[in-house]
């Protein structure tokens, strides 16, 4: 068992691409934790999608032994946290599990919005923060400017910022030394009843559910009977180990230590991030503060392009849910799209990751319907219902009012693009809270409806700022507004998958845009097709797709029969890929593209 004075627990806070994973790789490599021949890039990011997108979705940890300059050997536990706002709660728990953070900022880029959100989480967890300026080897690196920016924007002292290049290895020994010298050691009572935090959990095909824990007080051993305080479930520990980053069995874990356990837990769903683990017999009096169940905030329908793949989709979703408790699903039927699932996600990135994994790992082509947030529908009888799907909207006459979730968005952008960013936020019903400058970068904070952000806000932001803006947000609760359900009728029939919730003042504009888009996306048919947007029974926008006028093969002689027959068969197959709605064939891409707002 390690002594508290010889343990340092830390996380790394950084914006995407600022070098978090590379720095972690270097720390692992330089301390000889992993043999050189086993090194691969982004050691801690195990999923393909994590490596590919350069993001971390699941928390991970690594235990490093470091012989410091003072002659003592220290145990350094690095928790690699997800960096994205979708996983803000998971990040906050990881932050609570460590005492300090390395704040890594790209010396050629400066502080970004995501850095801010995560550094605030570290500050909330009372972390000691060591600023690290990475990529100092780049010609564009400007350490003085970036250090000043850290002080201005974040408000922490950056005079002792460590200058490194994770790529070349310059400065890494200084980082290791700073972890030991500048970060505090953990505190805890060895003799107190066991109190450990469930930091994260995942499903391992060989071991079942693996739980990452941080021991606060007491000692945990293999074979112990433990109790999860939130779920009130009892388990016996089958395996206790540390990650280096390969799993290495350990006899016990004491205060300040971080490791993993398995205990014949069936589903990841049975473990709650932030839960308190204690001994079944000798329980701790108080659970750890800050626990919150994870709640999906964005919902959308996932339908197989080929209806015959519905069972495969069910299988894929169930398998993914095994490893991801924050993702919810239930069966949904749509007149337009057939059978599918209504799925709930922590945010848009989470949605994209799950969708990508289904398409990639299970090879099922998907139609994704418009993401929707969760509305609070207050009925006249005083009850409140959550609305996950505009299609389920109750009769308007029974509704007293609707509330929608709002977010506080922080956007950092070079000042030449500020005007466009402000315009975009205003268009999306934003209310400006703050606008400050740090050098030539502006930082603006907006109160925005989540509904206006879930769909294509980030794409639009990237396009109006040529990719120079960074964006982060946090949930800010619910507020009443004048929201209505807008339906789209194609050839006089409502298409459920195209229903959206929209603010009344924006309805005409959205309706017109959607009708115009659909007119472009739906191919001409043999008859003319009215495309309408309506609120209740009232049509607020209308376009007419004219009938097809000409579709005939000019030349068809004896040598063409075989070829033209194949072409017709191909066209028929193409038609089958579209969704038939009444007599109208609607191409798949229409269900998403119709909702994109171009400007």
């Amino acid at each position: 068992m390690a002594q508290l004075t010889h343990i340092r627990n830390f996380s790394i806070v950084a914006h995407i691409d600022h070098g978090k994973s590379t720095l972690a790789d270097r720390l692992i490599q330089m301390t000889g934790t992993v043999a050189a021949r086993d090194m691969k890039a982004q050691l801690l990011d195990s999923m393909d999608i994590e490596r590919e997108r350069g993001i971390t979705i699941k928390a991970n940890s690594v235990r490093i032994e470091y012989p410091a300059k003072d002659g003592e050997t220290y145990i350094l536990n690095l928790i690699d946290t997800p960096g994205h706002v979708d996983f803000a709660y998971e990040v906050s728990r990881s932050m609570q599990a460590v005492e300090g953070s390395l704040l890594v900022v790209d010396a050629s880029q400066g502080v970004e919005a995501q850095t801010l959100a995560n550094v605030y989480q570290a500050l909330d967890a009372d972390h000691e923060i060591v600023p690290v300026l990475n990529k100092v080897d780049l010609p564009a690196a400007d350490c003085d400017r970036v250090a000043e920016q850290i002080e201005d924007v974040i408000g922490i002292d950056a005079t002792d910022a460590i200058q490194i290049s994770a790529k070349t290895g310059v400065g890494i020994p200084d980082v290791l030394e700073a972890i030991v010298q500048r970060l505090p050691c953990p505190e805890g009572e060895r003799d107190a009843p066991l109190k450990a935090m469930l930091v994260d959990s995942w499903y391992d095909p060989y071991l079942g559910v693996v739980v990452m824990i941080r021991v606060m007080d007491g000692v945990i051993k293999k074979g112990d009977e433990i109790r999860m305080m939130q779920t009130d479930a009892k388990y016996r520990i089958d395996k206790l180990a540390v990650l280096r980053p390969k799993m290495e069995d350990i006899a016990e874990l004491g205060p300040g230590e971080i490791g993993i356990l398995t205990a014949s837990i069936k589903q990841v769903r049975d473990t709650k991030v932030g839960d308190t683990i204690t001994h079944d017999k000798k329980r701790t009096a108080e659970a750890l503060p800050g626990f919150a169940p994870s709640v999906p905030v964005v919902f959308c329908g996932l339908f197989p392009v080929d209806n015959a793949e519905f069972e495969d989709l069910r299988d894929a979703i169930e398998k993914l849910a095994l490893n991801d408790a924050s993702f919810s699903f239930e069966m949904e039927t749509s007149a337009a799209l057939g059978f599918g699932f209504r799925c709930g996600f922590l945010g848009l990135l989470h949605l994209e990751v799950i969708r990508d994994r289904i398409e990639r790992e299970y090879q099922i082509e998907l139609i994704t319907t418009a993401p929707s947030v969760v509305y609070h529908v207050h009925m006249k009888d005083g009850t409140m219902a959550e609305l996950h799907n505009p299609a389920d909207m109750p009769d308007m006459t029974l509704i007293d009012h609707l509330e929608e979730p709002r977010i506080k968005a922080t956007i950092m952008v070079p000042d030449e693009y500020l005007g466009d960013v402000l315009k975009l936020c205003q268009e999306r019903r934003g209310i400006q809270i703050d606008l400050t400058y740090a050098g030539s970068r502006a930082m603006t904070v907006y109160d925005l409806p989540l509904n206006e952000v879930v769909f294509d806000f980030y794409d639009r932001l990237k396009s109006v700022t040529k990719g120079y803006a960074s964006f982060d947000y946090q949930m800010e609760g619910y507020r009443e507004d004048h929201l209505v359900k807008m339906q789209v009728l194609v050839n006089e029939e409502p298409v459920d998958a195209l229903s959206i919730m929209v603010h009344r003042d924006r309805a005409e504009q959205r309706g017109r845009a959607m009708c115009e888009k659909l007119k472009e996306l739906i191919p001409r048919h043999m008859f003319k097709i009215p495309i309408q947007a309506a609120i209740g029974g009232r049509v607020i926008a209308r376009e007419t797709l004219s009938a097809m006028r000409k579709d005939v093969t000019a030349k068809c002689y004896g040598g063409d029969a075989t070829r033209k027959k194949k072409l017709l068969e191909k066209q028929k197959a193409g038609k089958k890929k579209m969704r038939q709605f009444g007599k109208v064939d609607i191409p798949q891409e229409a269900f998403i593209s119709a909702l994109k707002m171009d400007g």
């Binding site: 000409k550 005939v552 004896g558 040598g559 027959k565």
Partner: protein, 378 residues
């Protein structure tokens, strides 16, 4: 027994046109005797298989058959006449490019037995002829037409419209000029961008600006019908117009589902033998085809039996191109059960049925592909 036609494919051109997706090739020199031997050998083979049938038409297509030597055409024609009994009113068509060199051979082709010329005029506008990659001028085409008119009773020519930057008024003017010529048959094709052609490549890369949109193309098609009707040359098929009685007998064989033999590289055939209908297709590379024909143990042609469904599809696909439509009797013989599919299309005004035939209306013909997608099972 149904009527029988013979198609002979000549695969060579002087230059490949950028819009053409036919089996055509450009070579420096051609051994005419080798080709004559090969055609003769195939004629012998096929006439044995179709023994007892009367030949009602021959069509020399290509490529550019007017590049065939006088002697080659004469040898082939002699061989055909001795291989099959010939109908009294048989039609023998040869496709020709309208240049003076080729027009010089017209008299000899006439002597050999060709009685109808189909000329690839394509445009009556020199700028557009160049854009279409044609080697002749309007003046040459008019001269060649005059020569053909003297040599043959029946002359047809092709025009391609709905070209780049072509206005409705420009086409009206051009078609008016064509209808003033002393002509009995016109093939009027809307330019189609086919994948795998030079135009197809340019189009895929975003080139070929100024092609008409669907509405202008429809307007052009409708104008074409009005003008040709007024000039006494109504359409009898989607793209073919004739004075009554001057319809191409050979092409009617294709559209009515009669039998035809295909000889030459890439040639297709349809033959009814022993109660089965066969689709044939020959090796398309000219040199390969030649060498396969010269070896007695190798056939350049593959034969496939067409299922009833295939035959129904073809009957509809080809027959509905004609004003006269598909004979109900033929559909009944093939066991087609289409009533549920036909009824809504009749209702919508795209098809009509009388006691003889299923026909497209003029509204249905211009949207034939859409009609077929509804009609053909699949």
């Amino acid at each position: 027994m149904t009527r029988l036609g013979l198609y002979i494919h000549w695969p060579y051109c002087q230059a490949k046109c950028p819009y053409c997706d036919f089996n055509s090739h450009v070579v420096r020199s051609i051994d005419m005797d080798a080709w004559a031997d090969a055609y003769l050998s195939e004629i012998k083979q096929l006439s044995e298989i179709t023994e007892g049938r009367v030949l009602s038409s021959v069509f020399f297509g290509g490529g550019t058959p007017s590049l065939m030597s006088r002697d080659l055409v004469a040898r082939v024609m002699d061989a055909i006449r001795s291989a099959w009994p010939i109908a009294n009113d048989w039609e023998v068509t040869l496709e020709a490019n309208p240049t003076s060199v080729e027009a010089d051979r017209f008299a000899a082709y006439r002597m050999a037995g060709v009685n109808r010329i189909s000329m690839g005029a394509q445009a009556l506008n020199d700028t557009d002829l160049r854009r279409l990659g044609r080697l002749h001028t309007v003046a040459e085409a008019r001269d060649a037409f005059a020569v053909a008119r003297d040599a043959f009773d029946r002359v047809s020519f092709d025009l391609i419209y709905a070209r780049q930057d072509q206005s409705l008024a420009a086409w009206e003017d051009e078609l008016g000029q064509a209808l003033e010529m002393s002509i009995d048959h016109l093939s009027l094709y809307q330019l189609t961008i086919e994948p795998g052609t030079a135009f197809g490549d340019r189009f895929a890369k975003g080139g070929l600006a100024g092609l008409p949109d669907e509405d202008l193309a429809a307007d052009m098609y409708e104008l074409t019908q009005r003008m040709c009707n007024a000039a006494g040359m109504p359409a009898y098929e989607v793209s073919n117009h004739a004075r009554p009685g001057a319809e191409s007998q050979h092409n009617l064989i294709y559209w009515t589902g009669a039998d035809y033999i295909g000889i030459g590289p890439g040639a297709h055939g349809r033959l009814t033998l022993g109660g089965k209908r066969y689709a044939t297709v020959s090796e398309s590379a000219p040199v390969q085809w030649l060498s396969m024909v010269s070896k007695s143990d190798l056939s350049p042609t593959s034969w496939d039996v067409l299922s009833a469904d295939d035959q129904i599809s073809e009957a509809l696909m080809m027959g509905l191109r004609l004003n006269s439509g598909v004979a109900l009797e033929r559909l009944a013989q093939l066991g087609a059960d289409l009533d549920d599919r036909i009824a809504p299309l009749v209702e919508a005004g795209f098809l009509k049925v009388d006691d003889q035939a299923l026909q497209t209306t003029s509204e249905g013909r211009i949207m034939l592909n859409a009609v077929l997608r509804e009609l053909i099972a699949g």
